[in-house]
């Protein structure tokens, strides 16, 4: 099985006055197709920076990131955009929906960027799947937090990404809504075979992934492979599906 994401000797430093601050230092790991991985660590340990670098949102100070066969270090900004569009999905803690677009249009954005003529139907199907078929023409301001994150999930999967990066996907939601969103996330992930990279403080969520990378002070201090917990609700819902 080929690696969807291969990170090797990745470092990121920032100048701050006379000093150089090291945010990430010598990080290496690989993720294969369908893997699920959580990055955990205290605040300031470099989790979000690692996620951003892995997705090609920023340039590393050293090391390489190979995403779906593309060495991001060899690509221009626009080429990296193209890789993201084809292979990557995102879910954000603060949802990041575009306030001027309806739920449907928000979901369609990645597909439209790609020039996919079928995107409208795919988006409608995904919105149906996340239970928002009656909210397609609502604007983000007219949706609750949970609904907004479900739109975010549908948008993340609209281009059938090879890998999905989720940054604290339940961080802004109450426990009950968060659980529902997690179920959907894993459900979509399982059915589309997408590799999943999560940044979270939620231990319950962590426990459902197959691998946990522990970060501290910009370094990997633990790399644990787990037998993912299967939520009984998931079994029921997949059984129903």
């Amino acid at each position: 099985m080929s690696a969807v994401l291969s990170v090797s000797h990745l470092s990121k430093t920032f100048p701050s006055g006379d000093k150089i601050i090291t945010v990430l230092s010598d990080i290496s790991f690989d993720l294969d197709e369908g893997d699920t991985c959580t990055i955990v660590g205290p605040s300031g340990s470099g989790k979000t920076t690692l996620l951003g670098l892995s997705a090609g949102l920023d340039d590393p100070s050293a090391g390489t990131v190979v995403l779906c066969g593309h060495n991001l270090g060899n690509l221009s900004e626009d080429e990296r955009s193209s890789v993201r569009n084809k292979h990557v999905g995102f879910v954000f803690q603060t949802f990041r929906l575009i306030p001027t677009l309806t739920a449907l249009e928000n979901v369609m954005v990645p597909g439209e960027l790609r020039g996919n003529k079928e995107v409208r139907q795919i988006a409608l199907d995904l919105l149906d799947r996340v239970g928002l078929s009656d909210r397609t023409h609502h604007y983000p301001a007219q949706l609750s937090g949970g609904e907004q994150q479900r739109v975010g999930l549908a948008r993340a999967f609209v281009n059938r990404p090879s890998i999905l990066f989720a940054d604290e996907p339940t961080g802004n939601l109450d426990a009950e809504t968060g659980d529902a969103v997690i179920e959907l996330l894993f459900d979509l992930n399982r059915t589309s075979g997408t590799t999943l990279v999560l940044v979270t403080h939620d231990m319950e969520l962590t426990a459902r992934t197959g691998r946990i990378l522990g970060l501290k002070g910009g370094k990997i201090i633990s790399d644990t492979a787990l037998e993912p917990l299967v939520n009984p609700l998931q079994e029921i819902s997949s059984g129903l599906g």
Binding site: S81, F90, F92, E112, R114, A141, D167
Partner: protein, 841 residues
Amino acid sequence: MAPWYLKFAWRDSRGSRRRMLLYMSSMVLGVAALVSINSFGDNLRNAIDREAETLLGADLSFESSRPFPEEIESVIDSLGGLQSRRISFSSMTYFKRTDDVRLSTVRAQEQGFPYYGAIETDPPEAATTFLTGKNALVDGTLMSQFDAAVGDSIRIGTISYRIAGKLIQTPRETAAIMLFSPRVYIPLAHLDESLLQAGSRADYEVYFRFPEGRDADAIVENLLPRLREAQVRTDTVEEEKEGWDRSLTNLYRFLSLVGFMSLLLGSLGVASSVHVYVRQRIRTVAILRCFGSRTWSTFSVYLIQAIGMGLIGAVFGSLLGLAIQASLPLVLGDFLPVSVDFSLSWSAVWLGSGIGLGVTVLFALLPLLVVKDVSPLLALRADLEADIRGQKSRLWWLVTIAIGLSVSVFAIIQSPTLKIGLGYSLSLLVVFGALAVVAKTMIRLLKNHTPTKLSYVTRQGIANLFRPHNQTLIMTLALGMGTFLIATILLSQNSLLKQMSLVAEGDRPNLVFFDIQSNQADGVEEELERKNLPVLARVPIVSMRISGINGTTISSMRADTTRKLSWAYRREYRSSYREGLTDSEVLIAGVMEPRVNPDTVDLIPVSIEEGIAGMLDVSLGDTVSFDIQGIEMDTRISSIRTVDWHRIQTNFYFIFPVGVLEEAPQFNVVLTRTETESESAAVQSAIVRRYANVSAIDISLVMNVFDAIFSRIAFIVRFMSLFTIITGLIVLSGAVLISRFQRIEESVLLKTIGASRSQVLRIMFVEYIALGTLAAAAGIILALGGGWALSTFVFEIDFVVPTLQLIGLVVFEVLMTLTIGLLNSRGVYAKKPLEVLRAEV
């Protein structure tokens, strides 16, 4: 299928379209100004083309300041066609009923002229019937000034005329020209010839109408050497048309440049709004980048929106421009020789909207460039937002240079010469720069030195000017520019008027009698003494022309086509003779000979004024030959003087010694001083009754004429300045709207922690009053600087500050700012906290 960014640009504009229309509307007035002025200019050119013949009223005219010599009379005879003579001169018009006199331009004419167009009078038939007897047509303003009516009597010279009608419009003259000297038309057959004695200034004119097919320009070309030799000026329809074309083109180009200023300010307003708009879109841009949008595609989204805004602005601006165009004849009517009908000029619409769109998009590009540099990482990290700043990249500099170039190119195209165009661009840069420096300094002072003792409400109101995304500077620029223009013209007008009144202060002369024949001078002095008025000076004046310099004749200089002779070589000189200097003169070189015996010297020693010596390129010892009404006289420059031309005094370019010109045909000028206008009117009336050919001019008349002319110019400048002031107010509306959500949040927060509605409203009052005062003060500070520089270096007069008028201007601007600000803030302060918590920006 349309590219995604086109669709996205449309979708993304949702919820902001009304706001975007308002941003864009700040450039609408600039486009409107350009379209209206250029369209009016096209209409004006068409009108001049269509009515070219009526501008001159004939196919050809000859003019001379002396009666036509014999040989020219034969030329005139030989030309045939229809001919009509006219003599124009300045003379006192005496209104019998009110016993008033007024210096006027008298036109004594024959039947026939104008052959094209008509003299417009009230009643209309008076235009032709006045020629049938001792009748006159009198300028309308003059008639109202002296409360005269049709049927009243006036006297010019020794002859009385019945007023047959009021003059409304005459060929070759505009209402503004008439302001300088009101016109009176009388029949040539009933002219008092004594008014045209030797030395008096008069224009002898003959107008021709030729049968179809004769080319007046060819005739002139053929006769030119002979006519020049006899100092006869010519005018053809083509020349008249070109002359008007040139001056009116300059007028509307000038207005167009003022209009362009409003467009620039509007575009700055658009750029400033786009800047804030883009800031509010940074997160969206980052999300798009995250999901794979390419740099230029994302940039295109916002560029398309800017182009869309520009296009809509251009269309609205053009429509408004066409509406304004209809009002321009009312503003400029006094300066136009023909009436201008309204018609749509597509070229002006394309030009105005094209320039409007181009300049707006160029200005919007600067803040848009930020979009290009937005990192997708921003979607992930909320804390990075504040770090986005427009980097001065190479592209930023390129756009800035493109803006500078496009402004300069436009200015050069609109200016008569490259130098003026570049000068305009440079001045614009200097004025904008200076205004920005003044405004920034004031803003900084206000920011750092607001007294802490002030109440919270006042301090908060002032602090609101510096809220994030504020547009205080751009509003100060736009409103300040309008104030600057209005205040500068106000300061110049007041300084010049003050100077005029100063020149006649103390015991200096304020009333001048001229055209006094030598045998009348004693009589004039007698009349003055009888009225207990002083004779401050009695000066003889002799008319002459230069016929040669250092042995080279003016004719041979004229024949040299490589040499362009200035007016100094061609003009008629009024010279005098006396023994020494007056108190307005200073000798700077040579010796001023007090008197000579012409029989004992070869060359008469003369004194020359420094400026004219420069223009004629002569210095001490050079010889100048004069044609003194037919008599040749060779002179030598023996001294050079400087002259203070600002005084009401008889000043001359050439002064001869005593003993030379006494026998030459001459007239005298007598200067006196009266303390009241009625005293002045009484003595003028008495002298004109005794000597009908004597004319008078007093300082109050000069000041009134100047004031009337300047007021009309000031009206046009105020009209054009309104474009920039209204642009500033639109920018203000946009700014209030942009910060609306922020204002709601502030208001809610204040209310939550216990502020009353009245306190919240007072904070807003203080903010708008401070903003209006800031803008007006910036404009006035700059105008004070500009006005002082104009007075000191250009007019060379004392600088006068009309404090009350300037305060009035500030109050007007503050009230406008307050009104617009409050109107746009309606509802902002009535919001409930809960609505705010749920709202999207």
